[in-house]
């Protein structure tokens, strides 16, 4: 009986795959007409970019949601959009999941259209304590190693409470997953580690890090926004330069006072991609990025070739060609490990 059900399920998958391939998003194939609305799904981090695109073009429809939610939908359901503005390696994660499900590839020609280094926004006084405490200086390895310990035990003030890093939920947030990958790279001292390297010391380090990250509150605010909004929420936050530069530049001086932005070596880089979900929308998506997409990204703190940089972007920092972030498979494994850690 089980075998029969498996056969039925496999047949259904194949039919579904053909349906998806032939008519993604219900468009019916061909080239998307100029008169048809272009439907974009945007990760929350890029909401402002998408809103700028919509403001420039009445035929652009946007929906904004966390990368993890979109990824789950793209593995299980027929896409209802033409393109996905997201961060790497989420398209890779989706494609791998689809491959495991026996589904055909969905996205092609996915390339970076904007880049931003990953940074840590740290309270200066606590940065100094960590610098002095950790033998190798300030690093993610150091942060994870001290996470959850009372500051008073490592030379800080008792009123600071425990060491509290801020990471957006890697299970659903695109930046959060990159920050987790960056942090793990910091632990291993390299980005090309694999799941075989997930040994006991790493598990301990990762568990301590996760348990020290405060539980998410029911709020749209990112950890950095919460840090600026509610004093004491975090001691340090991992994010992109794009967010840090933008948020700190617009924050009132008293809100950003005492905060410093730290670029860790080697610099890790987040990349924006516009992944086509419907082949017929490919040209329109390319046009969209040429006409205003690059500018919108740049205005929101992303580094885009040929575009001026926004305030908060370090003009002296040249980004490496590679991302120094683990590949999608490893990030997906990290994401699962993170989800399995109980508080």
């Amino acid at each position: 009986m089980k075998r029969l059900l498996a056969l039925v399920a496999a047949a259904a998958m194949i039919v579904g795959a053909l349906y998806v391939r032939d008519g993604v998003g219900g468009r019916g194939g061909g080239v998307l007409a100029e008169s048809e609305a272009l439907r974009l799904i945007c990760v929350t981090e890029l909401q402002a970019v998408c809103e700028a695109l919509r403001a420039d073009d009445d035929d652009v429809e946007i929906s904004v949601q966390e990368a993890g939610l979109t990824a789950a939908e793209l593995v299980q359901e027929q896409p209802s959009a033409d393109g996905w503005l997201t961060l790497q390696p989420w398209p890779e994660i989706v494609e791998e999941a689809r491959r495991r499900e026996g589904l055909p590839p969905l996205m092609s020609d996915v390339s970076a259209i904007g880049r931003s280094p990953l940074v840590l926004v740290v309270q200066e006084d606590r940065y100094a304590v960590l610098e002095a405490t950790c033998s190798g200086g300030f690093s993610w390895r150091c942060v994870g190693g001290q996470a959850g310990r009372p500051w008073s035990e490592i030379g800080g003030e008792a009123t600071w409470g425990p060491v509290r890093p801020g990471v957006a939920d890697p299970e659903r947030n695109a930046t959060g997953l990159l920050v987790l990958g960056h942090a793990a790279s910091g632990f291993f001292g390299r980005a090309d580690f694999s799941t075989r390297d997930f040994d006991s010391p790493f598990a301990t380090w990762l568990g301590d890090l996760k348990r020290a990250v405060p539980s998410a509150v029911s709020s749209t605010a990112t950890p950095l926004k919460q840090m600026l909004q509610r004093r004491g929420a975090y001691d340090l936050v991992g994010t992109t330069e794009a967010e840090a530069g933008h948020e700190l530049a617009r924050a009132a001086p008293d809100r950003r006072e005492g905060l410093t932005v730290v670029y860790l070596e080697p610099v890790a880089v987040a990349e924006v991609v516009l992944a086509p979900l419907a082949p017929e929308a490919h040209d329109r998506l390319a046009e969209l990025m040429e006409e205003g997409g690059g500018e919108a990204l740049a205005q929101n703190g992303w580094r885009v070739e040929g575009q001026p940089t926004a305030s908060g972007v370090d003009p002296d920092l040249q980004l490496p060609a590679n991302t120094n972030i683990p590949n999608g498979g490893v990030l997906e494994a990290l994401r699962r490990r993170w989800g399995e850690i109980t508080r």
């Binding site: 009123t159 409470g161 425990p162 509150v217 709020s219 909004q229 509610r230 009132a252 508080r343």
Partner: protein
Amino acid sequence: MMDAGHRFVVWLVMAGLLAACLPDLGGDEGDDGDVSLEDPGDCIVVDMAVSSEKADLMRDLARTFNGSDGAAVDGKCIFARPQSKASGAATTLLADGWDENAEGPRPVIWSPASSAWGTILNQRLGDKGQAAIAPEGTPFMVTPLVIAMPQPMADALGYPEEPIGFSDILALARNKEGWAAFGHPEWGQFRLGKTNPNFSTSGLSALIAQYYAATGKVADLTLEDLRAPDVNRFARGVESAVVHYGDTTLSFLNNWYRTDARGTSLTYVSAVAVEEKSLIDYNRGDPDGVLDPGEEPLPPKIPLVAIYPEEGTLFSDNPFFTLDAEWVSDEQRQAAQVFTDFVQRPENQERVLEFGFRPGNTEVAIGDPVSPENGVDPEQPQTLLEVPDPPVMVNMLDQWGEQRKSARVLLVMDVSGSMGDPAGDGRETKLDLAKQAAIEALDQFKNDDEVGLRIFSTDLAPEEPTDYIDLVPIAPIGEQRERIASAIRGLIPTAGTPLYTVAEDSYTLLQEDFDAERINAVVLLTDGRNEDPRNSDIDRLLEILRSSNEGQATRPVRIFPIAYGGDADLDVLRRIAETTNASAYDASDPTTISKVFTAVISNF
């Protein structure tokens, strides 16, 4: 014995009921105010349910917004229409069904005091197999929970040079030596004011902080932590120092303010956990945060200091939830987003500051009045406590019900002739409704509470005292709950209202048998004014109450009057309550008596 889930539901329902009534007091979740609604014309209506402390601000913002150029979606005007709705009440209404005839329009935007209410709502809906409707919200403004303490007391403890945590406060509360340990025997015992965590968000936050202090943790409280014998002992020790449980923090702040005027604030209460915003209001001379027409703020003689607990604290974040509900159209959703963006504009966020909150928009500096001049520190807090998982919170509340300070209460019920007047739909009398409410309220006492029943009316008894009868003497209610209920059921209306006599004698009775280990109180329900020519001197009565309620060696007995029906003398009852550092409750609409009784009993 109720299971935890049931208890949680009961808690929510009670919180909702209470928050819905709170007639006379205002509160950190106070008066729901009027529900009169403006005519939106042909505009897209964005109905809003907002917690009461920001209702005035929101109405102001809506007035600025409505009719402005930006108040439009696709060329169609938007009309934002806020109504005040306490967070707990709105949670219950959204979970159990929102009756638009009674409660006003269902909201498109819901803004409770804290995001936690959204989580609770979604959990309740989920428990019933329904989809969540409160998405992640946009914080509108924030304010941290602080420990409010009179300046001289904070100085005596060495704050701020010497950090103070919840654990220090709670240790003080359990120290039998009291303020003498800090060179101030004249301040008496260390007295702690706490709000009932079943009703008050501040109370719930303080309870969470108390458990963290008891366990030495700052995150990840577990059920095992709560069950530890040490933690239980710690909690009972803390509760023993409680003066009484307010239903809102404003009960304490109003009483503090009045005692300040009389120069006795240092012996009323030593510390209360309140929102920073409330402390700012107090120090600006506006303890309830609402200036009535013609009222001038007058700063207190002794200001309060905001102590930011060493272990960390919790924030109220006032989120804007655009509800994912079937009654919210796409057009309204878009309009709601326009209004949400509008209130986040820097010029509108500046207005948040006027009310003592910290702006949600980080572009706006945290300026005056969040400043040291008002007893607060914008640089604080340095760290936060985490909100525990829902099962832990439920268990916490369960335990609090048993650990809270026991009470010794005399229920005094008016059975004068006017109590026989029809009430509600006319099929029942005022006395019928009061009896029903009183019997229901008996269930809120724990078995260890001592409760008695007295009725009063002129010439009720054949011999002295003729104006009242003790139907059931004060004794543990666990042994006589049904006896009291039975006595209440048998009540009938009789003659006049000897209000002053029964107030004085009831007070004296509690004074004579004062039990320092308990909250000693009189609950006085009356529907009239004093009709006793033999005892008609209110000033004399107040002097008696005052003389034995002030000073460090007081035996505080509090009178919580309920002004029942439209003819009750609310002004006199309020004066009686204030003189004993209690609160008066307004049940001028007899149909609210059940809710009001619930609110009154929340003080114990």
